[in-house]
């Protein structure tokens, strides 16, 4: 009897623990945005992982949007309209993202949302936002299906949601770009593919694999890892016995760093190449010297090198934010600014006043947005994708990410 009740308890408890981690409190954080007399206050929502292992990236997004909002209020960018931000934590969990989307839609002052970080989260949010005609601009989603529909690979591109935009490049470009770099520039011919099973990682590895095999490279093996695991010894051994000359990783640095570290500790000195999820200083911090010689591609040109970004970098520093703006800071700022530009267009088309329900008008105005932002010219094509399709390869040299080359994928 005792054993049976124990089993029941086990089942209940295990399910309970798994479910409970996915819900929990909602961290709300409102930035400044004093409401001036006679002005309308509108909200720009933010959805990003503000807690959990990806919170460093998420908080960078939140702070950058906060900076954009403060800047717009200071310069009185849209006369008669004051912006404020409402940041929700999605914990990088799709279920939480969908709850947050409902909450943001329910708040009638929200005119646009910046986020989320994860493509997997975006998939659950898109429809909710689209039904409410609420504009969503992601600074980081790279899964092509989000803008071009699930059949984008077979050539039938169809935009599923008119309210979804992004300032980041897609994996349809990022994966092949990395494949060309590995095959042609590095001269590597045998790859071991590893993904973390989420929409981003699987998508990135898929597009990489297609281009790499097309170029003539071979796939020595493939593994899927559990996000958040610490022990990758079985993966390391699979890589070791496969004889691959490099690893391509689709996922984020919290998993990539221990993997590359354990790989080199087992004496397998082959580089790991990853996507924008790996491109973070924490990757090097965690992996230590094992990260030397690894590569990562990331969207856009390096923010620090762009003349257009100098003001952003300086203002961010002056803003006194405790966390770095991270890999997506510039894109988040531009995402927020695109919404601000759209609101501006709506206001000026409506005799200087914001319509009572501006959402649909803002959504329409988004497609005509064109301004010079932190990361270059910001505008969107017919799918809602950024027209700026630049990518950069970074390599770890002596413990820092250094720019290897900037370019784009063609053909």
């Amino acid at each position: 009897m005792r054993n049976r009740s124990l089993l029941v308890l086990t089942a209940i408890a295990a399910t309970g623990t798994l479910t409970l981690t996915a819900c929990g409190s909602r961290a709300s954080n409102s930035g400044s945005g004093g409401s001036g007399s006679g002005s309308t206050t509108v909200t720009i929502g933010v959805d990003a992982p503000l807690t959990g292992s990806l919170s460093a990236l998420g908080i960078g997004i939140q702070n950058s949007v906060d900076l954009a909002v403060k800047t717009a209020n200071k310069t009185n960018e849209v006369p008669g309209v004051t912006f404020k931000i409402e940041a929700l934590d999605d914990k990088a969990a799709p279920q939480q993202g969908s709850l947050n989307a409902t909450q943001l839609v329910g708040d009638s002052s929200v005119v646009g949302v910046v986020g989320p970080l994860n493509s997997g989260v975006a998939l659950t949010m898109q429809k909710t936002f689209n039904n409410a005609n609420l504009v969503e601009v992601s600074p980081a989603n790279t899964n092509p299906a989000l803008t071009q529909g699930p059949n984008w690979q077979t050539g039938t591109k169809a935009r599923p949601f008119a309210s979804y935009f992004r300032t980041a490049t897609t994996d349809a470009i990022q994966g092949p770009f990395a494949a060309q770099f590995a095959f042609s520039t590095l001269g590597k011919k045998k790859v071991f593919l590893v993904d973390n099973k989420d929409a981003y990682g699987v998508g990135l590895v898929g597009t990489f694999k297609d281009e790499f095999t097309k170029l003539g490279g071979t796939v020595a093996g493939q593994d899927h890892v559990t996000s958040g695991a610490s022990d990758f010894s079985s993966t390391v051994n699979a890589i070791k016995s496969s004889g691959a000359d490099f690893v391509y990783f689709g996922g984020e640095y919290p998993d990539a760093a221990p993997l590359t570290k354990q790989l080199k500790a087992q004496g397998v000195n082959i580089p790991m190449i990853g996507g924008d999820g790996n491109y973070d200083p924490t990757y090097i911090k965690l992996a230590g010297t094992a990260s030397n010689g690894d590569f990562a591609t990331s969207v856009g040109a390096p923010v620090e090198s762009l003349p257009s970004a100098q003001t952003f970098v300086a203002n961010y520093k002056a803003g006194g934010y405790s966390q770095a703006y991270g890999a997506y800071g510039g894109y988040s700022y531009d995402s927020a600014w695109a919404i601000i530009e759209a609101v501006k267009a709506v206001v000026s088309a409506n005799n200087g006043k914001l319509p009572s329900d501006p959402r649909q008008a803002v959504e329409k105005a988004m497609s005509n947005v064109n301004f010079s932002g932190v990361t270059g010219t910001v505008s969107f094509d017919q799918y809602g994708d950024a027209t700026n399709k630049q990518l950069t390869v970074y390599g770890v040299k002596n413990g820092v990410w250094t720019t290897i080359k900037t370019g784009t994928f063609s053909g």
């Binding site: 124990l6 089993l7 460093a56 890892v225 022990d231 051994n237 087992q266 230590g288």
Partner: protein, 309 residues
């Protein structure tokens, strides 16, 4: 054969760490029939305790001096936190229906995670843990890191100590008595509240050691490291027979081996290659758990106890 010896060694090392944590689940369950789901977090706080000691020592300290102090720091941190949670969260619910403390345990687990996330400096992303000097060593085609040796030594010494403690000391015998029948134990003059606190403290001490071992092996610790690991360790405890301390160790070793071997060798069975990956290894671990429990519901080393429902 894809380096079988190396995989066996890796599996055993992972399993030994699971075993160290599983001991905590099993001791507490044996005495109060509570599945302490916060135990994974006790393990995590132990690792952070050790890191704090290391950071406090300054960079010039030799690891041979640092390691004992870090171990001490880990054990003290996790023990204090475990005793506090017992006193504040579980003791008031001692006579409540069983589900109440269980759900409380889940609450304690989330609370501890968020406290570390929110208040430990830069714990929002993984923190780098110091590593042991020396190594790696090649022993017959198997590559062993110096941290692996630490894991083996720690696991063996801890298990020996526990066996001695439970069998030969007065407190250990009091624990056994309380596990068998708390009411009679009380009548015999055993302070059962004290025994329960000691059970929590002992489990926490082991979790603290496991925390240091984990940090040394993987070179990083994070606020949510206790969740998945704790779940596996709990599985190990059930697999070995919950309530039995040797069972916890054995369950850990079996689980570690299963996870490591299935991740690689399932692919060699024709048509099964898609079920073989690091992420599928947890599925196989639970498949083994279910199979074992079907044949032996009491676990590998568990005893059939019919007197308590």
């Amino acid at each position: 054969m894809h380096e079988l010896p190396q995989n066996l060694v890796n599996g055993l090392l992972l399993g030994a760490t699971y075993g160290l944590i599983a001991v905590g689940y099993t001791i507490v369950y044996g005495i109060v029939q509570l599945i302490n789901f916060a135990h994974g977090e006790i393990f995590m706080t132990g690792a952070f305790g050790a890191l704090s000691v290391y950071l406090g020592l300054g960079s010039g300290t030799s690891m041979w001096i640092a390691i004992p102090l870090m171990l001490l720091g880990a054990i003290v941190t996790s023990t204090v936190i475990a005793v506090l949670t017992e006193r504040l969260a579980y003791r008031p619910l001692r006579n409540a229906p069983r589900l109440a403390p269980l759900i409380t345990a889940i609450g304690v687990s989330i609370t501890l995670q968020q406290l570390v996330w929110g208040f430990y400096p830069s714990a929002k992303s993984p923190r780098v843990f110091p590593s042991l000097p020396g190594g790696p060593f090649h022993i017959g085609g198997v590559l062993i890191q110096s941290a692996d040796i630490f894991v083996v030594v720690a696991a063996v010494l801890s298990t020996l100590f526990l066996a001695y403690f439970v069998r030969a000391t007065r407190t250990g015998r009091a624990m056994q008595a309380t596990a068998q029948d708390p009411d009679t134990a009380k009548l015999m003059g055993i302070n059962t509240d004290r025994v329960i606190v000691i059970a929590f403290a002992l489990g926490a001490g082991f979790a603290g050691i496991a925390g240091v071992a984990w940090g040394l092996r993987y070179g990083e610790i994070k606020f949510d490291m206790g969740f998945l690991t704790g779940l596996y360790a709990f599985t190990a405890a059930v697999l070995g027979g919950i309530g039995n301390i040797y069972g916890a160790m054995l369950g850990g070793l079996v689980l570690g081996l299963v996870q490591n071997l299935t991740a690689i060798y399932i692919a060699d069975i024709p048509g099964m290659s898609q079920f073989s990956s690091q992420s599928w290894s947890s599925v196989w671990a639970f498949v083994i758990l279910i199979l074992v429990l079907m044949v032996r519901p009491q676990g590998l080393l568990g005893e059939r106890v019919a007197d308590r429902a």
